[in-house]
Symmetry: D2
Subunit: 428 residues, 4 copies
C-alpha cells in the first residue's frame, strides 16, 4: 500500500497539458473499474491489501487534501468527517481505523465514493483553470505529484485485485478480453560486459523525478556482466525441480526461515492442476507460458535462484548504467496485456523496461548527499529506507509515463504481490 517517494524536480508544463494529463489518468482509473462488481470493491484479503474502494477514495483524497483545501477558495469537502478513512497508512496518529481494516466498512458505499470522485474532479478542473499565476507553480508541482500518485495506485489496485481474486477458489476472471502472450521459447541468454571505473547515476536535468533518485552522484563500479534477458518460468521450474526449495545452502538465512515457516515451494499464484502447472492471471487461471519471465517472486527466491545458477543479482548501479542509454519501451500497462511476455530476439539487451520489476541486490538507502525536500510530502522521504531492496525498470502494470532509468521502486524482501522478477549478473 506504500507509494514511492516524492518529486523533487519538475519542468514547466502548460495548464492545458497538465489538465489533459489529469483527465487522462482519471479516465484510466475509471476504466480499471469497469469489470468490477460492487462486492469486489470490498475485498481486503490480507492486511497488506487495500480494497479497491479505498484506492479510489485515497487517490481523490490526495487532490482534495493537497490542492482543493489549500488553494480553492470556498471549497467545501463533501465528506469532511469521513476523510480520515481515505488517508494512507503513514499518518497513524488519531486514527480509529487502520487501513488494514478497511474491509470492515461497508459505508460509505462505492456509490458514495464515485460521487466523491466526480465532485473532486469537477473542482480540480475549476482550480486548474482559475488558479492565479502566483500559486500556479506550487499547484503544478502538487498536481504532478497527484497524477504520479494515481498511476502508482492504479498498479497497486490491480496487484491487490489479482491477489484477492486468487484467494477465491473459483478464480474469478477480471477481463476475459485480454490478449494472451504468444507461447514460444525465450531467446538464449548471452552476457553483456561492462567495464569498471568512475561514473554517475541518479537523476539530473529537467522533468519529473522523485527525490530518492537525487542527487546525481559519482560511483565506482567494477567490471560486470549482465544477462541479456530476464529469467523465465522454464528456468525457474528447473530450479524447483532440482530441489531449489529444499537446499538450505542456497538461501539467505531470513529467506530460509520464510519458506520454512510458510511452506513456500513455488512462486505466488502457481498451482498444479491435474499434473500441469497453472498460474493466476487477470484472465483467470491459465496454463503457464514457460517462455515468459518468472514473476511474483520474493527477493529471497531470486537470490536463491542466483546462487543455484552460480551467478548473482545486479546492483542498482549496474542496472542503471546498462539501462540509461536504452529507449524506454516495453510491455507496460499501455500494451494492455497486464501480464509479462516472452522476450523478442530483437536487441542485445532485452526486457530492461516493462514486463516485471527487477530485483537488484541494492538495499534501498538514500543517495550520498540526499536531503529531505521541504514540501508537504517531504517528511516521508527517507522513512522507508530500511529493510527493503530496490527494484528497477517497471512492469506490465506500470504506466510508461512514470518510468525513467533512474526510477527506484522498493519492496520488502518477502513481498510477492507485485510483478517482480529478476535478471542475472556476474563478476568478470
Amino acid at each position: 500500500m506504500t507509494t514511492s517517494a516524492n518529486m523533487i524536480c519538475s519542468s514547466n508544463v502548460s495548464r492545458e497539458e497538465v489538465l489533459q494529463q489529469f483527465q487522462k489518468v482519471q479516465q484510466e482509473t475509471d476504466k480499471l473499474c469497469h469489470p468490477l462488481k460492487i462486492e469486489d470493491y470490498m475485498l481486503q484479503t490480507s492486511p497488506e491489501v487495500s480494497p479497491p474502494k479505498w484506492h479510489l477514495a485515497h487517490m481523490t483524497w490526495f487532490y482534495e487534501t493537497y490542492l482543493l483545501l489549500p488553494f480553492l477558495e470556498n471549497y467545501q469537502s463533501l465528506y469532511l468527517e469521513h476523510r480520515y478513512l481515505f488517508n494512507d497508512h503513514y499518518i497513524q496518529a488519531g486514527k480509529k481505523f487502520s487501513s488494514a481494516h478497511q474491509s470492515l466498512l461497508s459505508r460509505p458505499t462505492i456509490e458514495d465514493i464515485s460521487h466523491y470522485r466526480q465532485y473532486v474532479h469537477q473542482h480540480m478542473v475549476q482550480l486548474i483553470e482559475t488558479a492565479d499565476e502566483q500559486s500556479w507553480q506550487e499547484i503544478n508541482f502538487r498536481l504532478l505529484m497527484g497524477i504520479h500518485h494515481e498511476y502508482q495506485h492504479q498498479e497497486l489496485f490491480l496487484a491487490d485485485l489479482k491477489y484477492s481474486f486468487y484467494l477465491n477458489p473459483f478464480y474469478p476472471v477480471y477481463r476475459e478480453d485480454l490478449a494472451s502472450s504468444p507461447k514460444r521459447q525465450a531467446p538464449l541468454i548471452h552476457w553483456l560486459e561492462y567495464s569498471s571505473g568512475l561514473d554517475n547515476i541518479g537523476f539530473s536535468g529537467e522533468g519529473f523525478a522523485f527525490d530518492n533518485e537525487c542527487p546525481q552522484h559519482e560511483v565506482y563500479v567494477n567490471f560486470f556482466c549482465l544477462a541479456s534477458r530476464l529469467v523465465t518460468n522454464a528456468e525457474y521450474l528447473e530450479f524447483m525441480e532440482t530441489g531449489g526449495y529444499e537446499r538450505s545452502e542456497l538461501w539467505l538465512s531470513d529467506g530460509w526461515e520464510m519458506i520454512t515457516k510458510h511452506h513456500y515451494n513455488r512462486p505466488l499464484y502457481w498451482e498444479k492442476i491435474e499434473g500441469q502447472w497453472h498460474y493466476m492471471t487477470f484472465k483467470g487461471i491459465q496454463p503457464i507460458n514457460m517462455g515468459e519471465p518468472v514473476s511474483h517472486i520474493s527477493y529471497y527466491e531470486a537470490s536463491a535462484f542466483a546462487s543455484w545458477a552460480g551467478k548473482r543479482l545486479p546492483t542498482e548501479v549496474e542496472w542503471e548504467l546498462a539501462a540509461r542509454d536504452l529507449i524506454i519501451a516495453g510491455n507496460f500497462k499501455e500494451q494492455d496485456l497486464l501480464h509479462p511476455a516472452v522476450a523478442k530476439d530483437n536487441e542485445d539487451l532485452l526486457q530492461m523496461y516493462g514486463d516485471v520489476w527487477e530485483w537488484t541486490r541494492s538495499p534501498y538507502m538514500p543517495y550520498p548527499g540526499h536531503h529531505t525536500p521541504d514540501t508537504p510530502f517531504g517528511e516521508y522521504n527517507t522513512k522507508f529506507m530500511t529493510n527493503q531492496m530496490v527494484l528497477r525498470g517497471g512492469a506490465c502494470l506500470t504506466s510508461i509515463e512514470t518510468i525513467r532509468s533512474s526510477f527506484r521502486n522498493f519492496k520488502y524482501l518477502h513481498e510477492r504481490k507485485s510483478f517482480s522478477g529478476f535478471r542475472l549478473a556476474e563478476d568478470i
Copy 2:
C-alpha cells in the same frame, strides 16, 4: 454461527399449513434484507461473524441439501460446485474455505445468491405440492427443521449485522423507522418463592422440539427465589461505577482473565460520548434507556454482577419450573422493536419470555437418558455440549414461533453478540 440442536418430535401438520409457514419465513428473511446496501452483504467483522450473504445462501443450502437433492426427482443444483461455500462450519473436512473467511469472496455476488434463493424456493413449492404420501412424513420433518433453522439464522443475521455496523466509526443506521421503547423506570424487584421437591423438566407431548430438550426427566430442586424482572441498565451502571470491573474477588477466574486481557469495562456496544452513555442499536447510536434490561453481557459479567449483588444466577431447572405455566408472550421479533423494553408492571413474574436471552448457571449438557436421534442432523447433537452455558426465554430478535418453556439456547461464556442478559435468583 452455530444453530441449536435438532428436532426430535413433530406433530402432523397439513401440507397447506407447512407451505404457508415456509413462505412466511422466507418472506421475513427477504424483509430483513431491504435496508441493506450491496456492500453490507460482504461484512465479516470477526471470525465469529458470518456475512449477510453467507447467511442467505446457507439457509437456502439447507433446503436444497436435505430436501430437493434427496426428494425432488431430476432436480439440478444451480451452483453445484459452489455449494460447499454455503455449508456451515461443522462440516470441516475437505473445505478449502472456512466460514471464518467468507468475506474474502466477492463472487458469487448477492445477485447470484438471490437468484439461487428464488430457484430453490420455486422448487421447494413444487416439492411440497407434489411429494408422494410415502415420503411426506420425512419431508415434513425436515422442512420444519429447515424453517426453524431459518428463524435461528434470522436472529444471527441481525446480531452479526449489529456488530458489523458497530465497528464502523460512523455507526450506520439499519432502520430509521424503528420505534423507541418508552423511557421510564423499571418496576421494583420483588422475589418469588418456589418450594423444593421432585419435579419434571424437558419437553414432552406433541409439536416441534429439539432433541436437546428431551427426554422429560425427574429432577430434585431445593427451595429458591427468583427476581420478578431482569436486571436493568441502571443497575448494571451502578455495578460499573462502584468498581465492579476492578474487584477480582467478584469474578470467576476465567472471567477475570477475559476482562483483563481485553480491557473490558462495560457491556458490548456501550460508548461514553460527551459524558453520556450511549449504545449501538439498529437505529444507530443512541443515549441509553436506563430502565431497559441490560444486554450484550457475557456469562462472566452476569456472574460478577450476581456476586456483587450477593445473589446468584438461576439454574435452567429453576427457570423452566417458573416459566412453564406462563403464557408465551413478550417482546419478540414480531413486535418489531429489535431492542429490549422496560418491564411493565402488569404481572408477578415479568420478562421471562422475550427481551433478552437469560443466562443460567447451568452448563449445557445432555439430559439424563438423552440419545442422539438417528436423523441426517443427528450426528451433531451433543457435539456442542462442553464449555457452554444454557440461556432461556428468547430475545427481541427471536421469533415467537420458535420459543417453548423447554427451549435451550447455549453460548460460550465470553459471548456478547447476542441479546443476552440475566435475572437474579437466591437460595432460601
Copy 3:
C-alpha cells in the same frame, strides 16, 4: 498449578498428631527432591508448568503467610521482599512476575529456597508447640489446609517434572529404582447395575473436607451401569488404530478443534520407537504395558472413546454413589509405583480409588446451597467453577491421606499432564 478448593470442616486432632502430620508431609517433600540435580529445579517447560523450585518455595510460603506471620509473635520473614515470587497465580495484582515466567529467575537459588524451608519449618514447630489454646483452633484448621495443600503440590511437582523430562530428547530417568507394574492382561469388563431414585451425595460428618464437597444434598438418579474397571492402553490403542482420531463424528466440537490444531493422535507421552509403542515414565522411556489403564488423556479423548464404544462417561453423582461404600485402598503414592497398574481380579468394582483420576461428564459447579466460607481462603472458592470437569478417585501420585468418596478434583477439558483416565458407564 491450581490446587483444589478449601476445607470447610475439620475434626479436633491433638497437637502431637498434627505435628506428626506436618513433619511427615515435609519429609515426603524432601524425599521427592533427592533424585534431582540443581538444574532440574529450574525447569519450566510450558506456562502451565511450575519449576520444582517454585513448588518448594510456594508450599513453604503458605505456612509463613497464613500461620507464622499472623500467629507467631516477633516472627521475621527471611525473604520479605522475595515473598511475592512464591505466591500462586490467583493473586495477580501488583505482580511483576507471573508464575508463568518463574524459569527466568535463577536467584533465589535452590540453596536459598532450602534455607527458607528449614527456617519456616523450625518456626512452625515452635508455633505448634507454643500457640495458646485460644488461637489453636484456627491454627489447627489452617495447618490442616497447609498440609493438604502440600500434598496436592507434591502431586503437581511430580506431574510437572514428568512433563519437563519428557521434553528432553534423552528422556532423563527420575528414579531408576522404581518397581515396574507386572505385565498381564486386564480382567474382562463386566457391568454393575445401579437403580434409580432419590439419594444424597456430598460430604457430611466429621473430618477434613473441602467446601466444594459440601453441602450434602439430595439428587435424583436414573438407572445406570458402571464398568467394573478402567479403560486400558490396549483398548485405547484399538480406538486409535480404528481411526478414532480421524472420525470427527466421535468428537465434541471443541475437542475436534483441539486435536486438529495440535495434531494430537495419541495420549500424551506415547512415542512409537522402532515400531513399538513406548511411553514416558518416571523410570524413563519404556515399552507400554497394555493391560494398564490408559492415562494422560484429555476429557475430549475420553469422551470420543466413549462415543466410539457406544457408551458414555459416568456423572460424578453416579461415581460417588458407587464408590461411597468401598474401602479406600488402591495404587496411591504410598505404593511408590508412581504409575498406574493392571487391575487385579479380586472384586466386583475395581480401580475406583488410585491409579488414575477418572474423568466424569459432570461440569465442575457448586453444589445446591453451597456458600463461600468466610476464611482467608474463602474468596477463591467458586472462582474455578467454569469450563472445567470433575475427576474422581485419586491417582498413583495422590496421597491416600487426601482422598474421600466425596473428593472433587477438576481440570480443564484439554488437560493431559495429570494421570487422568476414565471408566465407561451406560444407561439401562
Copy 4:
C-alpha cells in the same frame, strides 16, 4: 547467537604461539564462569538468548567437530549423541531442539558440560602437539577460527547474561568487584572533516581476517564530517525529554512500528527509580553516569536521534577511512570495566575503538568481488547479508585481539542486547 563470518586469510604462527592463544582464550572463558551459580547456567530469558551452559558447550563443540573428529586419530567423542544440542542455529535440518529452547533441558548438567570441556581441551593440546606437518596448515587455520569464535561467544555470553539478570526483579550482581567508570562530563564535540575522492577499504595483507572484510576494493566518497566522540547518555536523555519517542517524523517507518508495538521510550536497561534514572550493569542496578556513551540502542533509535540532531549516521566506508590510521586501543574487555567509559580529551578522534559498537548507516552486504571461500565454514558466508546493518569498532565486552579497522559486525535493526551506540556524521 550469531557469530561473524569466516576467516579468509591467516599468517603463519608457530605451534607454541597458537597453543598459548588457545589456552588463554579457554582460561578467559573459565574466568567468566566464576561468579555464576549453577542455576544461572540455565537462563534463557528470550528465544534470542542462549543459556550460559549452551555457550560453553558450543564453543567446545566447535573444536571437537572441526578439529578433533577429522584430525585426531582414534578420538572418541564423549557425548556423541548429545552433540547436536551444542550445534548452533544455522544447522537446522533434523534438529529436534532449536537453540531457542535450550532452557527446557536440565541434562546434560553443567557438571557434564565442564567435564566435556576438559576432555576436549586435553585432546586439543594433544592434537596441537602431535599433528603432522602436512595437516598443520589446515589445523592452524581452523584453530584460529575456533579461538576467534570463542572470543565472540564470550561477548555473547556476557551480553546474554546481562539481559537475563535484568529480567530478575532483584537485579542480581554479576561482579561486585568491577571498577566504576569515573563520573565526569564528556568533552565537547568537534567535527573532523574528510575530503572526497577514490579510496580503498577492506582487508588486505597478512594476519587474520574474516572473508566479509575482503576483498579490498575501490570506493568513491564525498566530503564528510565525523563527530569527535560518541553520543552520550546526557545527550540521549535530552532527546527523550524533548519528545524524541513521540515524534513520528523523526523515525524510520519500521522503527516507529517497533517502538509503538513494544512501547519503547528509553534505551534497554534504563529504569527510573524514585525519580532518578538507573541502568542495569554487571554490578547490578546503578545510577546512570551521564557522560558515558549511550548504549543498548537499536539502529532505529540511533537513526531517530540523528534526525532529531539534524545529522546522520556515518557509512561504514566513512568510519573505516577515519579509523584505519589510528592505533587500536580503547576500553575493551581487557580493561575489565565491562561497561562504556566517559571519553578522555586526549585526541582529535575519540572512542573509535572499544566502549560500544557503532551503528553505521550501511546495510550489511557483500563487498564487490566477494566470493564464498571454499572452507567447511564457507557455506554460511553471505547468508546473513540481508536486513542487517554494519557496526564497527568493538565494545567493552570485545577482546582487543579480535579487532581490526576492517572488522564488520552486523545486527538486525531492532537489536539492543549488545553494547551498541553511535557517533554522528554529516555532509559538508
